[in-house]
Symmetry: C2
Subunit: 270 residues, 2 copies
Amino acid sequence: MKIKLNSKSPIGVFDSGLGGLTVIKALQKILPNESFIYLGDTANVPYGNKSNTTVIKYSKKILDFFISKNTKAVVIACNTASSVAYDELKEKYDVPLFDVVRPSVDFANHISKTRKICIIGTNSTINSKAYLKTFKKIKSNCSITEIACPLLVPVIEEGWANTHIANLICKTYLHSLNKTDIDTLILGCTHYSIMSHSIKNVINKNIKMVFSGETVGIKLMEYLKKNSLINKKNKGHVNFFVTDYPQKFNELAEQFLDQKLNSIKCIKLP
Amino acid sequence: MKIKLNSKSPIGVFDSGLGGLTVIKALQKILPNESFIYLGDTANVPYGNKSNTTVIKYSKKILDFFISKNTKAVVIACNTASSVAYDELKEKYDVPLFDVVRPSVDFANHISKTRKICIIGTNSTINSKAYLKTFKKIKSNCSITEIACPLLVPVIEEGWANTHIANLICKTYLHSLNKTDIDTLILGCTHYSIMSHSIKNVINKNIKMVFSGETVGIKLMEYLKKNSLINKKNKGHVNFFVTDYPQKFNELAEQFLDQKLNSIKCIKLP
């Protein structure tokens, strides 16, 4: 189905849960006039421990929902869905589609001077080798290190980001980086930007952090400009949807977005 | 179906994942001649975020598996399944059935002198109010405090139990207990016994810890003795089954059991 794109249409952004809200925050900064529809598939969170087939099935339902809302672009603000479902969604849907892996890989590959890059992520992201494969795909000459940091998401979701305990956990995971000449650190999980102070505290000052929200935001902005789809008139806003209403959602969402959510709709996808 | 119980038959023990291995460890100590079949339903871990209907469905499949193995008793070594599925399983199955909530409640109610008891558990266990309801059911006159400690399971599964970070996390959750006259602490999650050193380090010396594995072990031993089902001749062993083979399973399982696992079979339940 050919979609007619309109500069006034909203942009769809989805994640399995809350993490993608950090992407919304970055996108709002880069594209202040755009309106967004955020969908957190909280009934099926986390995607990381589900099969590829299942993640693709969920992602398709979300794309159908966004298409019904006439979105002019869709951002997959979830590392698992980005690495597992992007290719199939790209083939099936006509809507301009953006993932969070490729933009960070391109950006890191562009800025690294020592040609040594580290990626941190959840167990499932690191085990999927999604970042490694993408560096290979772009024929990067960088040497890549990966570190799984499975405690960061639970610590963030407990509301303990950037506390003394968070600093100690980040130090345990990342202190070895300081003995290398890695100069670029990809935060390969949309949650991790919440923890950026703790991470910054424990890594060498010369190591630059790469955030998914910012890198996909730049790609999206470039695309909208090139295709005259930038919304110049509106004052942007976000409509929030979830598929289940978890405890503490509001409280955590505020922490992720640095703003109060006006309203969240709970919907069932078919 | 009436089951013929035999003292030489094994005892079935199940959990959604690894936590129930701490129950196995306690049962082996209390009942050294018994043989056990352990099933970790790792394909469906965790049960805590699933609906009651789903948890009951999974538990029934596991009970059917145990019945096919001719078990003489079954221990539900999972807090969620204990609180959600016990009553229905008890009604449907003839095999003697033991949960991990009631034995700890009975034991704590028996030993508390100040009549003030605290329960710690995962978010889902605390939100379910399973322990509170059980204290009401036995008409206990104790006053009950509950503290959700959602980071303990991820810290244990990361292999960081009883480290400096684990001590700090336990202190953050539990330091307020020391200002009360609570004298009994129920570890309402089968994982938590792994963290007992950290917990002990931060609570007052007069607070006694109650472990699911030990309390259900005593109830099981009493039952087997009363019904002449104690295995007096065999040297006990455990057969391990999982429904999916997660990374790090062996490594974690050794940490939970303090012994090497001879072999683990991965099975699909119908």
